[in-house]
Amino acid sequence: MAYAHARRVLPGFGLSLGFTLAYLSLIVLIPLSAVFIKSAGMGWQAFLDAATGPRVVASYKLSFGTSLLAAAINVVFGLLLAWGLVRYTFPGKKLVDALIDLPFALPTAVAGIALTAIYAKNGWVGQLFEPFGIKIAFTPIGILIALIFIGLPFIVRTVQPILEDLDAEFEEAAASLGATRLQTFRRVVFPTLLPALLTGFALAFARAVGEYGSVIFIAGNIPFVSEITPLMIITKLEQYDYEGATAVASVMLIVSFLLLLVINGLQAWTSRRTGREA
């Protein structure tokens, strides 16, 4: 370190780092700390009452449950899509590859109303299920659909580069040793992909837990049935219950920080397993 300081030839260290730290503190760190400072000022009992009220707990169960399920479904189909995009040629491949990122680029409110229109009982897909008495929009299934939409690119985009880098040699060796394709996939390919799949799962889950825009239109927002946790914060804010909103927000922030740690660990594992910068 001392050596590096001694031969620092480039200018602008103080200016660039100073600006970075000041801007980071003003926009992100100080405002985020407001949540914890406000929570700490509430007193433990008031905090607990606000953060663990029955309606809030129902929203935790719904948010975490649907987020887990959506991420799990996306892992399966995201892997199929990534595999198809890397290993096969098919017409329209470039277009599909480009549109995978649509959920990153499409505003969440637009996705929300479009999904609602499709999965409502008179919508393109909803009317196919209506005769069987299955309602999708305005139920937890609708929430699941929205979370699948926003989570898909996380899985595809973490697995795809690993698949592209995968050397054919390992599969050649497995084949020449008499392994079937299925055995090769299970024993050779899948273990290499596993850290990336888990990273994608965690990223999709983290995004889904906090998601708001694409969900509220399709959710129906019925207390104890289809109210997600971010909506609970909004509801409490609209009732001027700032303390309640802050308590729920601090629970969500702690979950976000824990997930961030998990994701960092998974990314380190991915780069160790594949020798690739995550």
Binding site: G12, L80, I145, E171, A249, M252
Partner: protein, 300 residues
């Protein structure tokens, strides 16, 4: 080095499929191929393609005249103006921040660098609703400096400044996270050579650094812009939904939709969808450029 850039950008390696399909050891049976493609693409069509098509079909349900009318009524125009304004402020600020952060992190050594990178990524893991709430806690009527602001007749929450702040927060990491890994991979040799040869700091940045990072910079900027114009949750918390004053395009879509003006809601939504498609097109072009540049630089 530049190959890492192309791979990081997720550039599709053209012809890679044939590489796997030509090799007996990596070739799947035809039925496996068609099953994987069939399932994967059906899923893609159902969850991604269908919503995109639905936006445009619903937008034109009442015809071209109703579509134009929905986009040119005063509230829609004011929402479009506010969205453009929020993006015009937040994108340049986050661009300057991204360059400064990447310059300090990639070109110098200092303790706590890893923690700093983690902090920069933080806004991505925070729920948009919480992002809005934090500014209410500071600038709101009951917030830290709320009383001082109201005494001086300054409005932040339920006004334009709050919307801009929330937009800056949610788009905070976009440019920085594209530039930091790229500039770290590029190292310091070229800049150090330039400075040693007598170039000023600014000359070094314009002539040496900027040409090296321009595609990643553009990449970060267009993603930042797409998010800035499309942000809903965070902006919704701080906006107050005052028609013609604090409504951005996504909030205007919500209001129209909740008033059962579906065709109008989808008309405004179709503009945002168009923005998303342009963003994806530019992104794909940049990735293609990066994959074209990579082999040239490897040989030189």
């Amino acid at each position: 080095m530049a190959g890492a850039v192309a791979a990081r950008l997720g550039a599709p390696n053209s012809g890679s499929a044939t590489r796997f399909e030509a090799n007996l050891a990596t070739r799947d049976l035809p039925w496996v191929k068609y099953a994987v493609l069939g399932l994967g693409l059906a899923y893609f069509a159902l969850f991604l393609l269908l919503p995109l098509i639905a936006v445009f079909v619903e937008a034109f349900r009442k015809g071209w005249n109703a579509y134009i009318a929905a986009l040119t009524e005063p509230d829609a125009l004011s929402a479009i103006r506010l969205t453009l304004l929020a993006a015009a402020i937040s994108v340049p600020l986050n661009l300057i921040f991204g360059v400064a952060a990447a310059w300090s992190i990639a070109k110098f050594d200092f303790p706590g660098k890893h923690l700093l990178i983690t902090f920069i990524d933080l806004p991505f893991s925070v729920s948009p609703v919480v992002a809005g709430l934090i500014y209410v806690l500071i600038f709101g009527a009951q917030g830290w400096i709320g009383p001082w602001l109201s005494a001086h007749d300054i409005k932040v929450i339920f006004a334009v400044p709050g919307i801009v702040l929330a937009t800056i927060f949610v788009t905070f990491p976009f440019v920085a996270r594209e530039l930091i890994p790229l500039m770290q991979a590029q190292g310091r040799d070229e800049e150090e050579a330039a400075v040693t040869l007598g170039a000023s700091g600014l000359q070094t940045f314009w002539r040496v650094t900027l040409p090296n990072i321009k595609w990643a910079l553009l990449y970060g900027v267009i993603l930042c812009n797409a998010r800035a114009m499309g942000e809903f949750g965070a902006v919704s918390v701080v906006s107050g939904h005052i028609r013609g004053e604090t409504n951005t395009m996504p909030l205007h879509v919500e209001i129209l939709y909740n008033e059962y003006q579906f065709a109008a809601a989808f008309a405004v939504a179709s503009l945002l969808a168009l923005l998303a498609l342009v963003t994806l097109a530019v992104k794909t072009y940049i990735e293609w450029r990066a994959s074209q540049v990579a082999p040239e630089e490897k040989t030189s």
